[in-house]
C-alpha cells in the first residue's frame, strides 16, 4: 500500500507484479542484453506483434480505406472520419442535452462507473459488519456469473411493456395508469440499460473493495477509535483514503468496459428505439458486419483507441507509482 516517492520508482517497480512484460521496470544495462533476455521476452514480443500490433496497424490503415471485405480496396483519406463527425447517430452536439453514440458512452461512463463503485462500496462496508457477510457477497456477486447475453435476456423480461410479461411493469401495475415502456421510450432507454449494467457489475466491485477493506490494518482503525473518532469520521477520513487506490483501479476497469460495451445493447435494444441507445462499440459492429463498411468500422475503432489511450496512460502511471492492494 506504500505510496512511493518519484525517486523510488525503479525500486518499487521491481516489486510491482502487475507491470507489463515489456515495461522498463527492471533497469537493463547494455551488457545484460544477452540470450536470456531474448529468450524470456522473445515469445511474448512475438505474440504481441502478431496479435496486437499487427491488427492495430491494420485497423488504423483500414480506417483510411473503403475496406470492402475488410481488405484494402480504395484509398478514401479522412472520408470516414468526416462522415462520422457529421453523423447525428454518432455524435450530435446541436441539441441539448447532446445525443449520439459517443454521448451515450459518456452517460455510461458517469452513471455506470459511479453507481457501480458507490453501491459496491456500500455493500462491502455494510456487509463487513454482519455475520452472514459471505452470503450477502455471494448473492451480490451472482449476476457476475451470468453471461452478459443471458443477463440481457433476463432484463428483456424485466422491462417488457406488458404487465403479464414484464416484471417491473407487473410490480408497478397497481400504482400506475398504463405501463411504462422502459426500452421503447428514448428518454428512459439509456437509464434502463445502465441500470441493467450496474446490476451485473456491482458484485465485481463489492469483491474487489471488500478485499481492500480487509487489508486495512485493524490497528489503524483501533487507534482512530481510541482517539475518539466516530464511525462517520473513520469511514471518510480513514477507510476511504486507504481504499482510494483500489477504487481508481476499479474505475479504470469499468471505464474500459464502458468503451467496449456492446452485448447488452445488442441484445436488449439493438441500438433503438431509433438510434437512441447506440454506443460506440455497437456502432462499430453495426457499420462493419451488417453494414459491410469495414473502413468506417475501422475508423470507429481508431476513435475508441484514442479514447482509451488516456485511460491506459493513467492506469499505467498508477501501476508504476505504487502497489495495488
Amino acid at each position: 500500500m506504500a505510496v512511493v516517492t518519484p525517486g523510488g520508482v525503479d525500486a518499487a517497480g521491481v516489486a510491482t507484479t502487475a507491470a507489463p512484460a515489456t515495461s522498463p521496470a527492471t533497469p537493463i544495462a547494455g551488457r545484460r542484453w544477452d540470450r536470456a533476455v531474448i529468450l524470456f521476452l522473445g515469445p511474448t514480443a512475438l505474440l504481441m506483434l502478431i496479435f496486437l500490433i499487427y491488427p492495430t496497424l491494420y485497423t488504423i490503415a483500414l480506417s483510411f480505406n473503403r475496406g470492402r471485405r475488410g481488405e484494402f480496396t480504395e484509398w478514401v483519406g479522412l472520408q470516414h472520419y468526416i462522415g462520422l463527425l457529421n453523423d447525428k447517430s454518432f455524435i450530435n452536439l446541436s441539441t441539448f442535452p447532446p445525443s449520439g453514440a459517443i454521448w451515450n458512452n459518456v452517460l455510461w461512463a458517469i452513471f455506470y462507473t459511479g453507481f457501480v463503485i458507490f453501491l459496491g462500496l456500500v455493500v462491502a462496508v455494510l456487509a463487513s459488519r454482519v455475520r452472514y457477510e459471505s452470503i450477502i457477497k455471494a448473492v451480490v456477486f451472482l449476476p457476475m456469473a451470468i453471461a452478459a447475453t443471458a443477463l440481457a435476456i433476463i432484463w428483456n423480461f424485466v422491462y417488457a411493456p406488458d404487465p403479464n410479461i414484464g416484471l417491473l411493469n407487473a410490480i408497478l401495475d397497481p400504482f400506475t395508469s398504463g405501463s411504462i415502456s422502459w426500452l421503447g421510450n428514448p428518454a428512459l432507454v439509456n437509464a434502463a440499460l445502465i441500470a441493467a449494467g450496474i446490476w451485473g457489475s456491482v458484485g465485481f466491485a463489492t469483491v474487489i473493495l471488500s478485499a481492500a477493506l480487509k487489508s486495512i490494518p485493524s490497528e489503524v482503525l483501533e487507534a482512530a477509535r481510541t482517539d475518539g473518532a466516530n464511525e462517520r469520521q473513520i469511514f471518510f477520513r480513514i477507510i476511504l483514503p486507504m481504499v482510494s487506490l483500489p477504487i481508481s483501479v476499479l474505475a479504470v476497469t469499468l471505464l474500459v468496459n464502458v468503451i467496449k460495451l456492446f452485448d447488452l445493447i445488442y441484445v436488449l435494444t439493438n441500438g433503438g428505439p431509433g438510434v437512441s441507445s447506440r454506443v460506440i462499440a455497437f456502432t462499430m459492429y453495426n457499420e462493419s458486419i451488417p453494414g459491410g463498411q469495414f473502413g468506417r468500422g475501422a475508423a470507429i475503432t481508431v476513435i475508441m483507441l484514442l479514447l482509451l489511450i488516456p485511460i491506459m496512460a493513467f492506469n499505467i502511471r498508477r501501476f508504476r507509482s505504487s502497489r495495488v492492494v
Binding site: 492495430t56 485497423t59 441500438g271 457499420e287 489511450i309
Partner: protein
Amino acid sequence: MTRTLRFPAILLSAAFIAAACSGGGGGSSSAPAASEPGASASGGASGGPVTSGAAGEINVLSLWGGSEEEAFKKVLADFTAKTGWGVKYEADRQTYSTTLQSRITGGNPPDIAIIPGIGFLRRFAKDGSLKKISDLGVDASTLTQDYPEGFLAAGTVDGELYALPAKYNNKGTMWFRPDVYKAANVTAPKTWDEYKAMLETTKDKPGAMALGAKDDWNLTDWFESIYIRQSGVDAYDKLFSKDGDWSDPSVQKTVDTMLEVINDKYVVGGITAAVGRAWTDAIAQVFGPTPKAGTFYEGGFVGGIATGQTNKDLKIGETIDWYPFPTLGNTEDVTTFGGDVVGALTESEGAKAFVQYLITPEANKVWASTGAIVSPHKGVGTDAYPNDLVVREAQSLQSAAKIRYDGSDLLPAGIQGEQMGQALQRAIAGEKVDWADFQTRVKAAWDAE
C-alpha cells in the same frame, strides 16, 4: 530511460484493447479481453447432422431454425437420396451475417448459403464471393418459366443472376381473430376506410390492433404495404432502387397514412409501449388464450408462429385467419413479399448438383409438403401444401398481378446512421423525420456499393 519507454508501454496497452475490440481486421471475429460484463456475445452456430453420400459432401449454411429448419432438412435428405451428395448442414440464426462474412473473409466459405437480404446479396455478388448461377450448369434464361419475375429480379445484380428463390412469404396478410370480429359484429374489411372503421368498432372489444415495433422491420413492412398500394408499383420500384428519392412527398404521405391507424387510439397499450414490445409478444396479444386485440399485421409466417408456438389451441377460421391488406387508391392486385434466396459460394461439383436439384419441381414439392414455406416454384400446385392457411397464401402470391420484394431488404446495407425502420420508430412516436437527410444517406450508400 523510464520516461522514454513509457509511451510505448501505453501504446501497447491501448493496442491490446483496440485489438480486442476490432472485429473487421484479419477475419477472426473479436476476442473480448478477459474481463467481466461484456464477455463474448456469440450466438452459437449449431452444427447440424451430416448426411453422408457416395459422391462427396457439401457445406450448407443457413439461418433457419425451428420448423423452417426441420423442413429444409427433409429437402436435404431428399437431395442426398437423389444425387448421392452428402450435406454438412450448419444453421446460425442470430449471428448469421457475422458467421458468413467471417467464413468468406477467412477463405473458408460454405458451398451453399441461404441469403436473407438482397442488400446483402448485392454486396457478396459485387465482392465476387457469390458465383453466377449461369456458371453452375443452369441455363438462367429458362428460369423465368419457373419463377415469378419479381423474385428473379431480386436475385439479379448488374444483369447477372446470382441467387435462386428459395422460399417466400406474402407480406400482404392481415391476421385477425374471427371470434373477436364476430363478437364485435364486423367483417373482414377490403378498403382502407373499411379497415379504419373496423378498428374504430373493435377498439374496446377488446382492442383494435397489436403492434410490436421494437422489431423495427414490422414498421418497414407496414410502410411498404401502404406505399405499394397507395403510390403504385412503379413508384415503389423507383423508391427502392438507386434512383429513389426519399424526399418525395409520397414518402411522407405514406407515413401520414400509417399514422391514421398506428396511433395511441388503435394500438393496444399505446405507441410508446409498442416501441418497447417484441413483435412475437404482439402476436401473443392477439392469438394468446385471452385476446387483447383483434388484428395484427405481418407476413404469412405469423400463422406458423401463432399456431405452432404462441397458442397450440388456435383453430383456423375460428380463432385465427387472415385477409389481404386493405386496398388504397391503386386498385391493381399487388403485394409485397419477403423471401430468402440461395446462392453458391464455390463452383464445386456438389454446389452445382445442389443448385440444379433445387430448381426441380420435385425438390420444391418436398419442401412445400412440410407447410413451413410457400414455394416460389411455379411447378408446385396448391395441392402440395398441408393446410388451408398456406394454400391461400400461395394462391394469393400466384394470382397477384404483380409482386414485389420487401423494399427495406433491397436498400443498400451500408446506410450510415439511422436506418429506415429506426426512422419509422421515431415517426410513429410523433417525431418529424427529415426524409431529405435520409435521402442523402441512402444515396451515399447506393453510390458506395
